[in-house]
Subunit: 189 residues, 2 copies
Amino acid sequence: MRPESRKEEIINAASILFKEKGYSAVTMRDLAKAMGIKAASLYNHIQSKQEILATIIIDLAEKFTNGMDRIVKSDENTIQKLENIIDLHIDVTLSNADGLASLNNDWMHLEEENLQYFEKMRQDYEENFRDIVKRGVSRKEINSFNIEIIVFSTLSTLRTLYLWYPKQRNIDAEILKHDMVSVLLKGIA
Amino acid sequence: MRPESRKEEIINAASILFKEKGYSAVTMRDLAKAMGIKAASLYNHIQSKQEILATIIIDLAEKFTNGMDRIVKSDENTIQKLENIIDLHIDVTLSNADGLASLNNDWMHLEEENLQYFEKMRQDYEENFRDIVKRGVSRKEINSFNIEIIVFSTLSTLRTLYLWYPKQRNIDAEILKHDMVSVLLKGIA
DNA sequence: GTCTATAGTAGGATAGAC
DNA sequence: GTCTATCCTACTATAGAC
């Protein structure tokens, strides 16, 4: 493992606690106890509880935004783009499954500029996703079911990966990617 | 509309607030303000904040449990059973989308017996679902992708319906059911 | 970098008047 | 059924010693 700064250790410990109980239910005393120190000591490394939440969420949201930008700019077909989006979600989940819980469940506790910044990234991500599906339907690369239902069902599954993947230790990442592509794109029936 | 008791009004108002900010971040003063009264007045109708959460979640979990029991007992084939499960989720979502937010995100704040009762119902539900998928695979009624991935992706989508359906006012429930079945079972590619 | 002590605020819940 | 007043606890964050 690479050496973590004390601040990174705190943020990682916080990610786990936020995942278990949610941002609002985790106290600075809880976090300090998990670190083996007193609550007051945390403030030598971080400015506020809010700063911890923002660091967790914004970093992850930017990873998704950058990944999506690359996929949108590529000249691959719709199916390949959807496969790349699935890969992106699996890769981010593997790198920080705990933090994704905060991104999914506690984003509304971000304050001011960070809340706006996050909501803009999230909306742009969804619109890029929807545009890829739309283009796929008009080019007859994918079935013309209701576009919103395709977008919703696919994104729901990808966004919930963080809950499920840590329980499936024995599934190899490549097999996961392959089967996820099969189930999401080719159907199960 | 049927006449609501004051307690039901409080629980409905709480469901909306819990959906927006989560159980821990909603105060009894917030809830009282939404009802147009003072916080102390709430306690003439409910015993505690915890009782409100338990009422919301346990009622919904029992609806899912009872619905699944009926489906399991029926002698329909796997595809029909999966269609009935999709129907069940759509029906419960239509009847109480706000409450489903608490069931999905705040169940860990249940206390004692209610937490155990909920976790048992949730686990049984997942196992019933998994058994239906397993039987479908062994009878070659559905494709033999990784069973856990099928269970996970389908349940993720159904569990997240509450977030998405209220935004899609113009989709008829029957069309939603039909397209959801198509997307989840037959694939999009 | 961590501690003790504490300021200042806000939380859930109760008592008793109307 | 709702109110005002209040209890007691717990929260985030700071000050200053070591």
